[in-house]
């Protein structure tokens, strides 16, 4: 493993997530490095989404889901007794596979998060800053009061990114953020991710090998074992994974012979 202890923002220790009694992923230990982009790749159903959602306790919302092991965020176990999951989600934001803007105005989409988290500064400035940060400002600055649903898919996804930026999280989790977008919108989001990684730690799930290779610094390859339980196969520098993987399953997957 390439990462050094002091730069880790998230560290999972032997994490397993169960739906009911069935584990979806098991025994995952990996470290997410600060202000870098980490990609999670692997065949469909191997548990990438499940693992990603365990990073900000989104799995708590699924009644049958249960997590074991430890996930340290800035050194503290987020699954410890006294931890408030809303606090975790406020610090670790999430962008979903399908754009899900609120049925509110563009402005209110951005302002929602800061408002509920007690933001007391200049909201107009924050909205502008967030939209600029998500590379959407120029396209929407004249129609902040129109509904977020009137935007195109790619714009909606950037709105969702802007909305996440507005609460100034430390980590942004992205679950296949481009899978509902066309290639041009995808490139725009990828470029945006590179920009954001100067300030934020990003974890992205993707099915697109080129995308993982293009944007990420580190890549984790997850796959299912014979009992259909997801396990971490290999985790390394993206370049290393794509040019010289050590595990043959990784090689098979990235060369398209599997999954």
């Amino acid at each position: 493993m390439v990462t050094t202890e002091k730069n880790l923002i998230i560290e999972t220790k032997n994490v397993s997530v169960f739906y009911g009694d069935t584990p979806a992923v098991s025994g995952i230990s990996l470290g997410i490095e600060r202000e870098k982009i980490t990609a999670l790749i692997g065949p469909s159903g191997c548990g990438k989404t499940t693992l990603l959602r365990s990073f900000n306790r989104m799995n708590d919302l699924i009644p049958i889901a249960r997590t074991s092991g430890e996930i340290l965020f800035e050194g503290h176990n987020i699954y410890a007794e006294n931890v408030d999951p809303t606090e975790i989600r406020y610090r670790i934001g999430m962008v979903f596979q399908r754009p899900n803007p609120f049925p509110k105005s563009i402005y209110d989409n951005i302002a929602f998060g800061p408002r509920i988290n007690g933001f007391s500064g200049n909201m107009d400035e924050l909205v502008e800053k967030s939209l600029i940060g998500a590379a959407l400002w120029d396209e929407v600055k004249d129609r902040l009061r129109t509904s977020g649903l009137e935007l195109s898919g790619g714009q909606q996804q950037r709105l969702c990114i802007a909305r996440t930026l507005a609460v100034e999280p430390t980590v942004i989790l992205m679950d296949e953020p481009c899978s509902a977008l066309d290639p041009i919108a995808t490139l725009a989001i990828e470029e945006l991710m590179r920009d954001l990684s100067k300030q934020y730690s990003i974890v992205i799930v993707t099915h697109n090998m080129q995308q993982a290779a293009r944007v990420s610094d580190y890549t984790a390859f997850i796959t299912q074992d014979e009992r259909r339980i997801g396990e971490l196969v290999e985790y390394d520098d993206t370049r290393q994974i794509f040019t010289n993987p050590t595990d043959e399953r990784t090689e098979a997957y990235i060369t398209g012979r599997f999954g």
């Binding site: 934001g93 998060g113 509920i116 969702c160 609460v167």
Partner: protein, 331 residues
């Protein structure tokens, strides 16, 4: 035995020529069958389409017929009573020897009980809908919702006697100012009666809000209460308002409870402690009595019916405006 040849599957092991011919015949047969089928299906389609159209027309005709009857009798009424008397007087005494035809006592009676009922049903209904949709574990919801819906099926006459024989005595033991027949008791019980409707319809609207919206809000650090009140309720608003309006119309049109518990005294008042009379209760009173057809007393019930109709119509128009104006479209 079967063999696969260039994508076509042939059954049997006959020589190639024969089997291709067979196949062509089969294909032809299939086309014929398909066309036959298509023809039949088109007929069914047409039948269903016009059948449904007839049903729609029928309901429109029925409505138009009712309005026509109401209008016809009301016009006759207004030939004998001036519209200024009708809208200007605050006394409604068509059954007395000194007749007055001011509609307002019946309107205030109706508004008093139905607004009172809404004051009970709206907050409780909305809160219970929020609980059922956002908080209740699946199993609790699965038991509570059918129970609520059973409440909606209790005959209103039962509610009427519940108001008169149970709620009124309790109210009267609290305050001596409350009469045996009063608007308050009727309003409270009517509120209880329409509560399941408010709750159930609002809950449906909230359930229809996509899960992804809730998740989006949670991912920003929202609490369950914030998700419920700031995301789900606004997104379901058009459905919730529709539920309110439907319930309000139901309350305005409700008859048995008010006829039994609120009294039959057309009082121009908003005092909930004294006997009053609603428009519906008045119609019942005259219909059940021995008023001869064709008399002015008889015509009043159609005029009151028309007024009731206009009131609900205004409600519905208002609601449509409101729904358009404030709803959050999420699809």
């Amino acid at each position: 035995m079967s063999q696969i040849d260039g994508g076509r599957i042939k059954f049997g092991s006959g020589s190639d020529g024969v089997s291709y011919m067979d196949q062509d015949k089969q294909v032809l047969g299939r086309f014929q069958r398909m066309f036959g089928l298509r023809w039949k299906r088109n007929l069914t389609e047409a039948f269903i389409k016009y059948g449904l159209f007839l049903c729609a027309i029928l309901s429109i005709f029925t409505t138009a017929g009712i309005i026509a009857v109401l209008l016809f009798e009301a016009i006759q009424f207004f030939q004998e009573v001036s519209i200024f008397e009708f809208l200007g007087s605050t006394k409604w005494t068509p059954l007395f020897s000194s007749k007055h035809f001011g509609i307002w006592p019946l309107v205030t009676g109706t508004l008093l009980t139905s607004i009172g009922a809404m004051l009970v049903a709206l907050p409780l209904g909305l809160l219970s809908a929020i609980y059922l949709s956002e908080y209740a574990p699946r199993r609790v919801r699965a038991t509570l919702k059918p129970i609520l819906e059973v409440l909606a099926g209790i005959p209103t006459v039962v509610y009427g006697y519940f108001a008169l024989l149970f709620v009124t005595p309790i109210l009267r033991s609290i305050s001596d100012n409350i009469m045996v027949f009063n608007g308050l008791s009727a309003a409270i019980v009517m509120g209880i009666m329409i509560l399941p409707m408010v709750s159930s319809l609002s809950e449906d609207a909230m359930q229809a809000v996509p899960r992804s919206l809730r998740e989006g809000a949670y991912a920003l650090g929202a609490t369950q209460l914030e998700v419920a009140t700031k995301i789900v309720v606004p997104a379901a608003l058009s459905g919730i308002v529709a539920a309110f309006i439907l319930s309000m119309s139901r309350a305005i049109g409700e008859t048995m409870i008010v006829a039994i518990a609120a009294g039959q005294n057309p009082n121009f008042t908003f005092n909930p402690f004294v006997p009053i009379e609603t428009m519906t209760a008045y119609i019942v009173q005259v219909s059940m009595g021995d008023t001869p057809t064709g008399t002015i007393e008889f015509k009043t019930i159609f005029t009151v019916g028309l007024s009731l109709f206009v009131m609900t119509l205004i409600m519905n128009l208002l609601s449509q405006y409101f729904v358009k104006r404030f709803r959050e479209v999420y699809e």
